[in-house]
């Protein structure tokens, strides 16, 4: 036996309790892994756009209309190579719970601008020619078992009614975080059916020189400041970060949830450790009598709690990775959702911290335990 063996023996003393504590830590770090991955994936998604693109939207927010006439004025800007626009559709296919992103795009200018969208089935011309045509990510085709050439009917939400689309092309994103479960169709189709309400959602500007992005963005917003629709111009990267979180501040929510879970588990684990040490007061006194120093005994308690949280943390994170590795329903909102190495590292660091914190109080208690007093209590 060794000191480590003694720590191990203490861990197996009450197997059920150790198991339950490890299980609660596993659950916590499983959740942590999932939630944290949502954040990192959002961040990654936000980095898809190159600085070579700017997005101009209504300064009042994404849901406020932009006059189509802005397009021409934006195109005339020094340093702007081309302009296109896009709109959020927000429909669903059969199951309203089953969300994926659909965009109404100004296809003739959008497609040339988005070189990272590679058409792999059907063809771009067929998509461009037909008013009700749709361009669909291969992931989405697979998900619903759709095929190029098929007509699918989506239910609108903001734009009510049934919407028929003919799938004319399928794409694979050159960059996986662009997502392959998006659907694009013609802005004109959306406009025709709702001419009084539909305007471009946001303009996308391709720049000649990425390094001038900030300067051009400021100039554009200056120009429209006193117009009927003041603008806010940002890099596409920043826009996407905001866009994916338009339903609420997901990052914030996730952080709050994660923190709450962390502290809940902290209390559970700390309580367990305190119980474990309290019922061992006599043994700790005996070990002190044998010459174990306060520091050594405190270290053993800490080692015990760190072992619990590290094992639980590692297993929880591995579980989260497993859960996210296959196809998952969050894929269309958070393309490429996965537990990153950074999340693993952060998770294990947190697990270590959790172990140190939960072990600290009982470690301190056992260090300052008076042997004479404790031995009196046990006889």
């Amino acid at each position: 036996m060794s000191i480590a063996g003694l720590v191990r023996a203490n861990l197996t003393r009450n197997k059920k309790r150790t198991f339950l504590t490890v299980a609660s830590v596993i659950v916590a770090f499983f959740l942590f892994g999932l939630l944290r991955s949502v954040i990192t994936t959002l961040d990654a998604a936000a980095e898809v756009g190159s600085e070579a693109r700017l997005v101009t939207l209504n300064a009042s927010g994404l849901t406020f209309p932009m006059p189509e006439a802005h397009a021409n004025r934006l195109a005339g800007f020094d340093g702007v190579r081309s302009v296109t626009w896009s709109n959020w559709f927000g429909g669903y296919y059969q199951d309203p719970q089953d969300y994926f992103a659909q965009f109404a795009i100004k296809a003739d200018t959008w497609l040339p601008m988005y070189s990272e969208v590679r058409i792999v089935a059907g063809d771009a011309d067929a998509f461009l020619r037909e008013r009700t045509a749709a361009l669909v990510g291969v992931g989405l085709l697979e998900k619903y078992g759709w095929e190029v050439g098929q007509t699918v009917t989506l239910q609108g939400t903001f734009f009510a009614g049934d919407w028929d689309f003919n799938i004319r092309a399928a794409y694979v994103p050159e960059d996986p975080s662009f997502g392959d479960e998006n659907m694009y169709f013609h802005y004109e189709y959306l406009y025709e059916r709702n001419p009084n309400v539909v305007t471009p959602g946001w303009f996308i500007l391709q720049l000649d020189q990425p390094e001038r992005a900030a300067e051009i963005a400021a100039a554009i917003d200056d120009l429209f400041r006193n117009s009927s629709a003041p603008t806010e111009t940002q890099t596409e990267r920043a826009f996407q970060a905001g866009f994916v979180t338009m339903w609420g501040n997901i990052g914030f929510l996730v952080t709050v949830l994660g923190t709450a879970v962390f502290f809940a588990i902290l209390f559970v684990a700390a309580n367990t450790m305190m119980m474990a040490v309290r019922e061992r007061i006599g043994e700790i006194a005996v070990l002190k009598t044998l010459g174990f120093t306060d520091g050594k005994l405190a270290g053993m308690v800490i080692a015990e709690s760190v072992a619990i949280t590290l094992v639980g943390g590692a297993l929880g994170l591995l579980l989260a990775r497993g859960a996210l590795s296959g196809g998952n329903p969050l894929q269309s909102f958070f393309p490429g959702l996965a537990v990153t190495g950074g999340t693993f590292l952060l998770g294990l660091t947190l697990a270590l911290a959790l172990g140190l914190i939960t072990g600290a109080i009982p470690a301190w208690q056992s260090a300052r335990l008076s042997v004479a007093g404790a031995l009196r209590r046990i006889g």
Partner: protein, 241 residues
Amino acid sequence: MSSPASEAASAERGASPRPALVQISGLSKSYRRGSETIHVFDDVDLEMHDGEFLALMGPSGSGKSTLLNIIAGLDTPDKGSVVVGGEDVTRMKARRLAAWRATHIGFVFQFYNLLPVLTAAQNVELPLLLTRLSKADRRRHVMTALEVVGLTDRAEHFPKQLSGGQQQRVGIARAIVSDPTIILADEPTGDLDASSGDEILTLLERLNAEFSKTILIVTHDAHAAERAQATMHLDKGELVR
């Protein structure tokens, strides 16, 4: 070996050929309980020589355990000094004291106080975890100690698989495994039936006779005390030999 009586006498004459192993002088201890102060003992002196086997008797609450704890450096006196092997225990810092205890004190408890999660051998090995001994050497020491107490065949048993007397023998093996300077036993037979208690006393006697262990045993039982070379009485704060 000279008889304890003649040794005590020579100590009194100040003609002892060697200094006492344990030299307690002017020891006082009191506890405060709220506003009340309990004087456990006052100005107690005690000498123990190498190889002595002494018994300490006294009514319950007279301070026997307190005295033992102070000798082991587990409790601190209000006044006085406890010099063991030339070092004053009462002046040592906690860290130093722990190391000192590991090498000089073997403690035997009334309720054995074995760790339930460890086997007999592992319990005996505990003090050796604080040494630099190799695993093989530790094992050898453990088996030797278990052999002395006659329990080699129970090495892999857990405490709950052993009788009280056997557990106490494991407790004694743990106390002697690191070959300490002095063995302190606080009512080691207090929880045992007469015959098991007798075995334990015989074992302690043997440790003293065969291995020249210095032993201080606290007991209630006059029969038990008779096994020692001399008996001291602690009563109403005074120690008489």
